[in-house]
Structure formats: structure tokens, C-alpha cells
Subunit: 432 residues, 2 copies
Amino acid sequence: MTDSKPVGVALLGYGTVGEAVYRLLAENRHHFVQRIGGDIEVRGVAVNDASKPRDGVPAELLTDDAVGLVERDDVDIVVEVIGGIDYPREIVLKALQAGKSVVTANKALVAAHSAELAAAADEAGVDLYYEAAVAAAIPVLGPLRRSLAGDQVKSVMGIVNGTTNFILDAMESTGASYDEMLAEAMRLGYAEADPTADVEGHDAASKAAILASLAFHTRVSYDDVYCEGISHITAEDIEAAKTAGYVIKLLAICERIVDAEGVEKVSARVHPTLVPKDHPLASVKKSFNAIFVDAEAAGQLMFYGNGAGGNPTASAVLGDLVGAARNKVHGGRAPGESTYANLPLADFGEVPTRYHLDMEVNDRVGVLADVAQQFAQRGISLLTVRQEGSDNGARLVVVTHAAREADLADTAESLKSLDAVKSVNNVIRLEG
Amino acid sequence: MTDSKPVGVALLGYGTVGEAVYRLLAENRHHFVQRIGGDIEVRGVAVNDASKPRDGVPAELLTDDAVGLVERDDVDIVVEVIGGIDYPREIVLKALQAGKSVVTANKALVAAHSAELAAAADEAGVDLYYEAAVAAAIPVLGPLRRSLAGDQVKSVMGIVNGTTNFILDAMESTGASYDEMLAEAMRLGYAEADPTADVEGHDAASKAAILASLAFHTRVSYDDVYCEGISHITAEDIEAAKTAGYVIKLLAICERIVDAEGVEKVSARVHPTLVPKDHPLASVKKSFNAIFVDAEAAGQLMFYGNGAGGNPTASAVLGDLVGAARNKVHGGRAPGESTYANLPLADFGEVPTRYHLDMEVNDRVGVLADVAQQFAQRGISLLTVRQEGSDNGARLVVVTHAAREADLADTAESLKSLDAVKSVNNVIRLEG
């Protein structure tokens, strides 16, 4: 122990997560003191309106001067749970530059500005932790940074957004439409009033960027992630998937791939995905999250739990806080982001994917040949083809082997204009 | 970086795990150098017979003088993958006393002597890591030490022995007997020639001791763990469980309990357990491992993956090695075992458990009343009672609510001598 002064903490933000962090820190402080090897004390709580009382927080701790708070001499660690990007970026950078370690739960901030934040943390020799930014209480960033530091990660594939998993799971179990289940998710508090960030995959894309960066030691930002949401998924899509033995999940998929020239690249993408019913990710229900990691020596690992909520997020924030405080007391620094591998990022078009296509076709001789020809001329081989009669024509369901995404997208496009094809009802990628 | 000398490593043992550690370290050294922030070099490999060549290991690295190797000045970290207890204990203690950090995969050693080893590591201010000792590549000790350091763990419940899970799963899917599936496990290399440590639960008990110690910040040793294996489980037990909607798993269960006087205690036990079919642990097949953690703020978490094998174990060992090497280069120390909570250990008899009892009873008036009376007089309430006719009498299956283990065991014993009861075929505890 370098000295006996308590480790000083500044809490920025007092929403659901901030409140849980403050409360649990107060409740468990005696445990934390033991785990840290020294005392820990909240120096102030920065909020928009410091005159509004907050249950359980002494009035003298409340301040609307976040910058002033993080720069106080008796603050060692800054916990940022405000949300947003520009404002927390400014304060977090000031904190790091002032030599304070930072714990944040802010996925959007980290996914957009990790290079700048990591550089500032390195410059000051302090810790920058953000376990809560991905899948809340599920320890996955820690394991990627530390437990798997002796291994090579091949891919990370996860359900990292509880709102969309709730909606898709509810559609699956009730047969209801997307709009109905979105409304249900809002009613139950699983979706926000403006659900765009969740349902269009932006939230999952931030998490994909963070996971890919840590897994592959390569900088991947939010803008590098291909992103497709679930708002176009219909009850018919879910039904068709079910019939074929699949479940539709919104997956964040981060992979090392080898391109046509043999160059190793990193890919990160978010899109609705058909997952076989017996795949462990298929059984992740309601708003739960789960992350699959495939590593060269470890093989397949799965991490499962609550991916959101005040207490689960606070659990991850406090785990980071205890770690950062321990380092303040004992010296040392947590392993930071490493970008030594610096692999090139793959264009989405060159990533190998698999398609499940569901089409209405004319019921006449030669249709199958015409359709098959579209795949064959782009070198795409087919895993399964299922044709059955429908009211006016025939239904054709095709599952491909892996091929370049651009070739598959091109094929799907050209099928739409083929005489033999009346409509392409459903094109969903497939994994597992 | 404190200096530019490579971090020196002594590898003790060159069996399946040692070979994998050596090979993967050589293959991935360039990655590790980046992650550590400095170079890493194997100084020697201690084996029984140094004259026997080992594929890929330069002859000059081989030595049969393990003590001499660990005490060399250019050795900073000792990796122990010999197995056994007394001999590795002696060398690991010498290494710690000489100021070397230690990484071990040896669950029996840690479960038996963690107090002594932790004290020696603290004394010398060095790291003692053993992630591989529980569930190999599945990161669970790291998450307990670090990610959950801001939370309070309520229970840890896991499938931590691949051999027994393979046997039970094979019995379940084939209907075959224990002996047949044990033979099959041996044939496929999932069970050792002497399978005692696995099938009698000793291996799982070591892991339970380690998990309970870290989860509850209380010293739990192998001898403190109640331990019952699977060798008495019959095909009929599996079949009966299946009919009732359960799967039989060998679980390591670590809990905080509150005793009759309101005192908080720690309990760790290993026994065959009925798990409902829809519980996530029920779907853990073959030799896979999975660990459920229930924490106050985080809620339920699950960690799943390969719990054994050369490469998966080496993955965990190398993750620890990179962490220990990083601390040698950058300073700082990993959070060690903390035993500050020092909760009393519960007697197995006072732990709340639930029983599933399967009996043959006489088919006459009053039998159910006689049986029910046995439970009632000990204050045990029943969840379900199912009675059906059989060839010569009736079969009675009872599932209890939670009650003191001693009372349940006593009831089961007294039922055996009840006139109305012809035989008690199956008494298995139940969770979830």
C-alpha cells in the first residue's frame, strides 16, 4: 500500500446505472476495502441539476460541474455513466489527462473514440476500463484481455442486445408481428421510447467494434461495422425459419478471415442471422445476452447472462472500479487495449457468409435450372434446395454454402429480376 | 518496462499439458511479446528422465533437477504442470520462496494447500495463478477474482468434471449401464485407466474447494467438501429421472447459506443431482463443462466450454503466464486469494437440500399416510407425490421442498425400515 488516503471516486451521471453504482458501492464498501487493500470514497456525483435532491446522496456531494469534479486532487478514479458521446468524451479525456483512471459503461463513446481514449490513458499511465460497455454483467472483455491473452481468438459471435433478442424471441414464441412485439417490449421497459439504436443494430454494432478490437488486437470502430437491424423481419420470416429448423437472432459477428489474396483481415458485422435450433445461441431467450468465443487452443467458449439493467451494469462497473482502485493502492496497470496486430479491415463484400433465400417461383419446367444457374455462374454451391407447391406457383427455399457476401448479394439481386422468380420473400444470412 | 531482459520461464512437467504449453508458447511467442511488453524465454523443462528426447525441445533445456531449475537467477516464472500433490508442493513452495511467480494447473495441489501457497506468494510479493485448475480453458477464476470483485456471489454451481459428464450423458442418450459407458469413456480417452478420482467426485471436489474459496473469500479445502460420486448411478435411475423431466448431472455446488441460528456460512459439496431438463446446465453434453454463478447484482451468469484436454488447459496456463510476465515487466501484482470474509463452514447436515426418492411400496390402504408421516414429523414438506401400480405393489416417487440435509437423510433411512416400504430404489438430490 503506497499510502493510507482513501481512493477518491467521482461519479458522473445518476441515471439507472449511476444510482445502482452509488447504492451498491455504499452497501458493499466494507467488502471493497478488503479487496482493494485500502478505503474508497465517493468525492462527488455530477448531475445536470445539482439542486434536485437524489435519494440517498448527501446534497454536498452533488455538483453540476463535472469538469471541476474530475480535476479535484482528491479524485483518483472517474466513473462515467452519463451516456452520449461528445460530452462524456470531453470529460473523460480531461480526467485521463489529469491522471485519473476511468471506468465507463459507455459503449458508444468507446466504439467511436477508443483510439483517442486509449492514447490518453497510455500517456498518463492510468487505467481505462469498460467491461460494462459490452453485455453488462457478463465478464467478456476481461476474459478477452486477460484469460485469453495466451490464445489466438478466431471469432466472437454474440447476442449483445437484449431489446432485439426480447422482440425476436417474443415473435418466435407468439407468432406476433414485429410491431406488436416492439410495442410489448416498450410496455415492459425492454425498449426505449425511441428504439432506433437497438432495433437498427447500432447498439450491437458499437459492441461488435469493442469485441473485435480486443479479440484481434486491431482497432475496429463503430463506422467499420456492417450493420443491419431487425425492423424488416416479419412474422412470416420467423415462421419460415422455424419450419426449416432455425431461430432468427440478431448477432454481432467478429472474425478473422483470409481474403482471396491470402491476406488475413478482420471483419465485424451485425445482422439478423439464422441459427440452427440446436446451437447454444438459439436457446438464449428473452432479454438475455450470450457471447460465443472460438479460440485456437481453448476451442469454443460461451458466456451467458444479463446484458442490461441497472444492477447488472453496476456489477461490471464496480468490478472495474475495484480493479482500478487496487492498482492505485498497489501500483501496476491493467492490460490496456492492444492494437499491435493492426490487421486490415475486410470490406463486408469480401466476407464469407451463407444465405437462406425463400422465393415464390413459377411452377413450370426449367425454373429450378434458371435459379440454380444464377448461383453456379458466381461459383456459389448450394447446401439444400427445397421446393414445394403453393397457391399460385411454387415455393423454393435455398440454403447456400459459404461464399463472398458480395457474390451472394449480387445473386439475390439478380434472382429478383429473373422471369422464373415471382418474388424473393426473405433473404437472411445463416451461421453455425 | 523495468528492464529489457526477457522474462525467464521454467516449465515443470512435459505430459499432455506441458507439451501443449511448450508448443503454443513457441508458436505464439511473437504475440505474447506484444501483450507482455517484453520478451519471454523458456529456460528449462524439468522432466523425470532428462536423457529421453522430447519432440521439439532442445536437449539442453531438459533437466531432471526441478529444484535447481526454479532457483536459477534467470527464471522469473515457474509453470507447474506435473500433477500430484507432495512433490509439486515442495517445488512450488521453493519457487515462491525464491521470489518466482507461479502458474499451476494443479487443482489437487491448490485445493489441498492453498493457505500455505498463498502465504508464500504474499510473503514474496509474487503472483500465484491457477486458472487452468478449474474447467481448463473456461475463464471462471479470473472473472471471480476480478470481474465480480464489485459484486457479492451467492452461489456457484457447475459441471466441472468432463469424464463424469461424458458418462452420464452417454447413459442418458443410450440407456446403457454405468459400467458400459465407463468402458466407452476409457476407450475414447475421456476416462483414465484408474478413473477413481473422476467418478468418485474427488476431482470435482478439488474444484469446488477452489471455487468456493474465491467466490466467498473464505478458505475452503478439499477436506471441507462433501463428496459423492456417480458409480452407484444405474440405468434405471437415469430412466426414472428422464420420466420425471430431469437429467442427472454431477454438480459441484458452492453456496452461502444461513443456518438455523441465522449465522452465514459457506457450503461446498459434490454429488449427483437432478437438474430440470430446461435448466441450462441440463443441456451441457459430452465432456463439456459449465459453471453457473449467481451474484447479487449481476444475477445469473454461465460460463461454458472445454473443461479438459492439452490445448484448452494450455490456453488457460498461457493466459496466466502472460499475466504474470506482464506484472514482472510492468510491476503490480494480480489480486490474490482473499480470505477476509472467513465465514464458518457449514456441516453438510445443516445445508438445505431437496430429495427425489423413488420407492417400491406395498399396495394397501394407509401406505401413503405412513410414508408422509415420516416427512411430516421432521417438518419436511413435499412438492410432488406420484404413485402408480407396479408388478407387485406400487411405486411411489416423492420430491421434497428444501429441508436440512440431515433431516432428509434421516427420513430416507427411516423409510427403508418402514413396513409399508419394500425398497428405496433411488435417492438423488435435486437443484434448480
